[in-house]
Subunit: 327 residues, 2 copies
């Protein structure tokens, strides 16, 4: 079906005119997809509609403080809403049931593939929760403490606690309004940003032990070997933070994280600063991405993989600085 | 001299009626004292006053993006202003010259000792920069991009980038207004929060290697030995982040950081969660502090010091849970 881009008011009209909504989150759910889905479901319930939330994966316990407060009994739905889902592939285990059936998508990803019948997309929003806040205002759904906590969680998690470049004056405006409610923002932030498992701490320590510096310390490599992953039982989202470490060291222009995904297959995450272009470096190895963040998959032994990515980083450094680098 | 608590309007009147201001920051200057001092000096210059900033310690280079833009030539001052300085002792190397001579103190610390002739104290402000923002508005000083960046830096650094419990709706309101200016907030935050020296990274790794867990992993101890400090050349502010690690591990109720300050003298930083009281635990060892954060200095070998703090943590755990703990 063709995707119709609709405005905030059209979105509100859709919600007012229809009923019996099932609201979908994306796979590996994060604070924004869950916070947005929960706030929207609760808001719809406040104006007398029936709504429930379905998540393709188990909901992490750390989101209980709002997810557990949602009346979430399933029923025979008539309308399917996707929140914070840029691509149908992100429906994960729900794709079989809901693929091609999404009536309304609410999103802030500029990359949204337009798979839904109706799309309310605000790419200037730092989080889908910003869009949901606006929608709840327009449909006159009364925001309560739990809805405020859910929306705050979405905004806070998608902005790295107001740290990233996606924050705008509107982000602060909405966050300030949410502070009128009884939300324990500091505690939410502690759970979201300053809590890690003992395994994760152990993993970080072992990964730091692998740190290598090259090219006058302009390139740092961290290796997350199969052995480290097994020993610390860390996977998926727990490994995500590692790439951030590789770009946090003063003077490093190329932070490389090499993760063993299976025997002799390594996924490389690259973070760069000017004048280096991460997409160039990974592009030469069959990958791609953006100027400051890119990735690729490289086969071989860990040493071979390191050699390949280092050669590409070296080429980029030499082209950017018009000088030769020796290691 | 007696300290007179004055209002925002009285503060504005003081600034309007007087001239030739020297503005003091506290020792080991941080983003709030520097951002507030720089913004106030620039704001006063905008309304035709003469003002310059003096800092008791060298200003870290990372604050150059606003400090270097300040016209900061010294002259014969007539009025002394202290910003973000709760106690005269924090004047450090400036105490000899300015002790007992501060005409106006602008601060947000509830613990302010009232050493100044006039005190504008707003303990509900997350940062002194919030107070300075209000003052600049009232004296009709035009805020420009640099002033906005300086004020944003003060607020962001004192709130852990809007993460802590000192954030209020007003904090967000001011931050949103500062976003009307051309400030590169994401880059400021990267410099302030996500940049560490290679030595600091090495220090963290070595400190993580010392991690010990006790009492069903409810207590974690990190040791920053003299050896680690020497090897990584880390001191002062670079060591501060370690205490945050000790409280970030899931399930840990008492995070202990033991720092060797000289041979057989150890400074203990303690962070606790409910139901433990950090002040109780450190109080038994001659220290003190708050319920969630306290400290003490203990003499002895590292092992002896660990034994002492563990005994006090154990007592607190047993009293809180009415049960015995074995290690």
């Amino acid at each position: 079906m063709a995707c119709k881009k609709i405005s905030l008011l059209q979105t509100a009209r859709f919600l007012k005119r229809n009923d019996h909504f099932v609201i979908l989150t994306h796979a590996s759910p994060d604070g924004d997809t869950l916070g947005s889905a929960c706030a929207l479901a609760m808001g719809l319930q406040k104006i007398g509609k029936r709504a429930y939330v379905v998540c393709p994966d188990p909901v992490p316990k750390k989101f209980d403080y709002f997810m557990k407060k949602l009346r979430n009994r399933a029923f025979k739905y008539k309308n399917v809403i996707a929140v914070d889902i840029a691509d149908e592939a992100l429906l994960g285990s729900l794709k079989d049931e809901f693929g091609g059936k999404v009536n309304l998508c609410i999103d802030h990803h500029v990359s949204n593939t337009g798979y839904a019948e109706n799309l309310f997309l605000d790419a200037s929003a730092s989080a889908t929760a910003e869009c949901v806040f606006a929608i709840l205002k327009v449909i006159h759904a009364v925001i309560d403490d739990t809805i405020a906590a859910a929306l705050y969680t979405g905004i806070s998690t998608d902005t790295g606690c107001f740290k990233y470049s996606n924050v705008t004056a509107r982000t602060f405006d909405i966050a300030g309004r949410l502070f009128a409610y009884n939300i324990n923002a500091a505690e939410i932030n502690r759970i979201m940003f300053d809590t890690k498992s003992k395994n994760r701490l152990e993993m970080e320590k072992l990964v730091l032990d692998t740190a290598e510096f090259h090219f006058d310390e302009k390139c740092m490599i961290l290796s997350v070997t199969e052995e480290i992953q097994k020993k610390t039982k860390c996977s998926g989202s727990e490994l995500e933070g590692v790439a951030a470490i590789s770009r946090s060291v003063e003077g490093v222009l190329a932070g490389v994280t090499i993760k063993e995904s299976e025997k002799n297959v390594f996924k490389i995450s690259l973070r760069t600063y000017e004048p280096l272009d991460a997409a160039n470096i990974c592009g030469r190895l069959g990958g791609g991405g953006h100027r400051a963040a890119a990735g690729c998959t490289v086969n071989g032994s860990l040493d071979e993989v390191k050699e390949k990515i280092l050669a590409s980083v070296k080429q980029e450094l030499e082209e950017a600085n018009a000088g030769a680098y020796t290691d």
